[in-house]
Amino acid sequence: MKEIFLNPQLWAATLAMATPLALPALGGTFSERSGVVNIAMEGIMLIAAFFAVVFAHATGSAWLGFLGAIIVGLIVALIFAWAAVSLTANQIILGMAINIFASGITAYLLNTMYGFTGTPTDTPMLPTIEIPGIKSIPFLGQVLSGHSVVVYLMIIILFISDYFLFHTNLGLRLRAVGENPEAAETAGINVIKLRYLGVALSGILSAMGGAYLSIGVLNSFNPDMTSGRGYIALAAMIFGKWTPFGSFGAALLFGFATALSMQLQNTAFSKNIIMMLPYIVTILALVGVGGKSVAPAADGVPYTPKK
């Protein structure tokens, strides 16, 4: 048992598996803090994962692939925002529609663009980073160093997100819009604009999570390769009480449960019970083991400006 926890791979896998959850969870935090429930993150991740490969292969640069994925993710998010915010459509139905669409369109494009052999094997991958100094520390180096660049990017974004949301005027306004849009509007805040901002940020961050899966972890796209991570990210965000660090912590917990289930499979425990671990943790998180979490008051409620 002890050697499992002393195995640096357990902790490295935790971080690697947490990243594609943490990025959309951070995105969801922005979106929901502004009052829009964005369950389309799963679909945005999937579309972004696909276009990351398309752009990376077409340009020969993984970074341009990453950028292309973000732009595509942003466009889908803006379409979602237009319908959800400007046209006050039902956000859940809209989100589901985008997710179904994403699954169909990516499978279709994959076959028409690349044929049944799948995406080209010479697609470039985002670099992995060895942190000088930390790299040579035993254990810690193996845990923290040598990850995809997206993992480190996620950590930087985490700190920026927290600062933005809780220490800037714009962040305060964004939160105000999600709590009480009428009051915010009375105070002269443009509710619609800020909700667009919240959704746009969730699109960008989900797209990064999707691109991480396709060109960060490997260099190819498989249909439905996001495997519901956009939804688990929502759970992480709720468990994290709609805060960046909370979401990250929850993502780490889910990542840890996955990594641990991989390590424990070769021990005496029943494989089937071990494989349920990540899901048990998710359910426990959602039924409120971590204390009561309160959503922003106007979360999911469309708003029509009172002009």
Partner: protein, 352 residues
């Protein structure tokens, strides 16, 4: 505002119906074969319609479903039959997808995979005039269902023996921890037959070898496949056999990053990472699909079970890595011969 909402609603409906359609038949128009129709034989073949329903892995899984699709493509090209594919998005799609083909009067409907057993049983009963082929699962009590079964354990045995010998003689990138691994998708019989053979083959040539066996519980999540393989590598494994469809691509990637070996499955996956794929345990699903289409076309459709094994080239090793010396290849070939001759019996059960 109101007008826009109507526009949005209509847009949503259109987009959704299109995407549901798109995710299904992706290749209908492509295969309407381009050959000129001159003789009546060709016209008759063209009237013969074959529908293939993939499992959730989809035809781009670079393994199982892709092989089935290749067989279908070959039938379209060489026999001139009309073919169509529906890719299942989730397990609940199996019954509607099979029904869809049967209702449209397809002559032969192919279910790709063990997981479609129940769906195939159900639909084949409702459409007794339609012929069905199921891969990897036994349905014996229907006159209109043929089952293609593979002896995965035989090729698994060869892959295991190769891995065992490579470990024993410390070939190429291997340092000789004498630990190898297998990453399965789900714990289902066709996956376990591969792993059972792998285990026996490795133990036969290298009795002290340790074999790690794990499952990711999915066939289309390469990110988890990669971490699973990295976990085994951290536990000392130097060769990882992937039996996980699309998930397995992550396994190959992990071996490539750590500069160790992976063993591919179903299709010859050497091209994914030529330096790091030791070999592939190839399962000729394409041959099974093609043969059954041909038989059905010529009126020779037989219900019941067909076996594909080493003897009839239904399974076999793929391209072997250039690091492997000829002496090891010879030993593996000898084992293959012994299996064909019945001197070695390979069990299809994993031992503890």
């Amino acid at each position: 505002m109101k007008r826009w909402r109507v526009v949005l609603a209509s847009l949503l409906i259109v987009v959704l119906s299109v995407s549901v359609l798109l995710s299904g038949c992706s290749s209908k128009t492509k295969q309407e074969s381009t050959q000129p129709q001159t003789t009546t034989q060709e016209a008759k073949n063209k009237d013969f319609k074959v529908g293939l329903v993939t499992d959730v892995g989809g035809i781009n899984d670079r393994s199982f479903n892709q092989m089935a699709y290749e067989g279908l493509q070959r039938a379209a090209k060489e026999l001139g039959v009309t073919v169509n594919v529906i890719q299942s998005k989730q397990m609940t799609d199996y019954v509607p997808n099979l029904t869809n083909f049967a209702q449209q009067g397809y002559d032969l409907v192919i279910s790709v995979g063990f997981m479609m057993h129940d769906a195939t049983e159900e639909v084949s009963q409702k459409f007794p005039d339609t012929k069905f082929l199921i891969i990897d699962s036994e349905i014996t009590d229907r006159p209109n269902v043929a089952s293609a079964m593979f002896k995965e354990q035989e090729v698994g045995y060869l892959a295991g023996a190769l891995a065992g010998l490579v470990e024993k003689e410390k070939v190429g990138k291997v340092k000789g921890t004498n630990i190898i691994g297998a990453v399965g998708g789900m714990q289902i019989p066709p996956v376990d037959r591969f792993i059972a053979g792998y285990q026996q083959g490795a133990k036969a040539v290298n009795p002290d070898i340790k074999i790690l066996i794990n499952y990711t519980n999915n066939f289309n999540d390469p990110a988890s496949g990669k971490q699973m393989a990295l976990t085994q590598i951290s536990q000392g494994a130097e060769i990882v056999f992937q039996v996980a469809g699309g998930t397995g691509e992550g396994v190959v990637k992990a071996a490539q990053e750590k500069n160790l070996y992976a063993i591919g499955v179903d299709a010859d996956q050497s091209y994914l990472a030529p330096d790091n794929v030791l070999t592939s345990a190839v399962k000729r699903v394409d041959v099974a699909v093609y043969d059954v289409i041909k038989d059905a076309l010529n009126g020779n459709f037989k219900s019941g079970i067909m076996y594909f094994d080493l003897k009839n080239n239904g399974v076999g090793l793929g391209k072997i890595n250039k690091d492997v010396p000829q002496s090891i290849i010879d030993q593996v070939n000898q084992l293959a011969k012994d299996i064909i001759d019945g001197k070695i019996q390979v069990s299809d059960k994993i031992s503890k």
